[in-house]
């Protein structure tokens, strides 16, 4: 009996902890949405990722065009459409993957409309569960195909350019708080950023900057 009570108490504690964590996360997101800044700490140092200003967007555009110029001249780097042709010659058909994905997406769309209709009509639990399971299975299939395609095209020129842009946005939008309590740019030059060994910071700042930026 005592063991059961102990288990129930433990379950309640876990639930409460989850709720506290969840509300903490929501508060962080709430702040982030209000002021377009994501602040975090690594080894007692405060960092901030913010939206790019106009000057930084211009800098980013210059660097992006420069990188594109370099990549397009490199014969070892193929455009996505050329890479798709090479794969086809080797028996891997990316167009087929695309077709399968389109068909599954259409099927998911149809099932969702049926599920929506069932919800609106207040149908029984069994019908809702059947549609929900079907949609979940289709989405799992879709995710596998998407992952396949993404892996195959990882080294295309377009993807390399996108990766580079993500790195430059991270470089431009990350600030560190100095001893006087003011935020200053973390890295002064692209070279300093590329040479940096602070992987934790780069990963965290990278994902934060991608969440914030929407148009470059």
């Amino acid at each position: 009996m005592n063991q059961i009570k102990e288990n129930v108490r433990e379950e309640e504690a876990k639930k409460l902890l989850n709720e506290i964590n969840e509300s903490g996360d929501l508060n962080i997101v709430d702040e982030m949405i209000k002021n377009n800044q994501i602040e975090f700490e690594i080894n007692d140092k405060k960092y901030r990722v913010r939206l790019l200003n106009l000057k930084e967007k211009i800098d980013l555009d210059i660097l992006r065009r420069k990188k594109f110029g370099q990549l397009i001249q490199d014969k070892d780097i193929l455009l996505e459409k050329d890479l798709i042709k090479v794969y086809k010659e080797r028996g891997i058909n990316i167009e087929e993957i695309d077709d399968k994905m389109s068909k599954i997406k259409a099927e998911v769309n149809d099932k969702q409309i049926l599920l929506g209709e069932s919800i609106a009509k207040n149908d029984g639990e069994t019908i809702l569960k059947t549609y929900s399971d079907q949609i979940k299975n289709l989405n799992d299939e879709l995710n596998i195909l998407f992952l396949q395609k993404t892996t195959l095209l990882e080294f295309s020129l377009e993807n390399q350019l996108l990766n580079y842009i993500a790195q430059i946005i991270t470089f431009l939008s990350t600030d560190v708080m100095n001893e006087e309590g003011y935020y200053r740019r973390m890295w002064k030059t692209v070279e300093e950023f590329i040479d940096s060994s602070e992987n934790d910071l780069i990963n965290k700042a990278g994902s934060a900057s991608m969440i914030l930026q929407y148009s470059i």
Partner: protein, 115 residues
């Protein structure tokens, strides 16, 4: 932390929905520090505010039960069904028939004799 999941949860919360209603009604009240140049997360948040506002309205007028909130898949599916089947359009069309304008050349103004 699942940022997108949390943006959705935040937009669905009673606090955010109340603030959203207030912003729509009270001039000068703002959701964000910036007035323009919305970031990606702000755009996503705003679209979810409208999304949950629509569902809440449908619940109030008994178009749908609160059961829709049982899962995000239910919410998405219901909104997709609503959009695809266009039952808002049907509703608007039927409302159009409520007011009938009768065209006529003869307009009877009250004459001085009627007074």
């Amino acid at each position: 932390m699942d940022i997108y999941g949390n943006i959705r949860k935040l937009a669905k919360s009673v606090k955010s929905q109340n603030l959203f209603q207030a912003v729509k009604e009270i001039n000068g009240l703002r959701l964000f520090d910036n007035e323009s140049n919305l970031s990606k997360i702000q755009q996503i948040y705003l679209s979810y505010l409208y999304f949950y506002d629509t569902i809440n309205r449908d619940i109030v007028i008994d178009k749908i039960s609160k059961r829709v909130f049982e899962s995000e898949l239910y919410e998405d599916s219901y909104m997709l069904y609503k959009k695809e089947k266009g039952f808002d359009k049907k509703e608007k069309d039927s409302k159009k028939h409520d007011v009938k304008l009768v065209m006529s050349n003869k307009i009877n103004f009250p004459s001085s004799e009627d007074k």
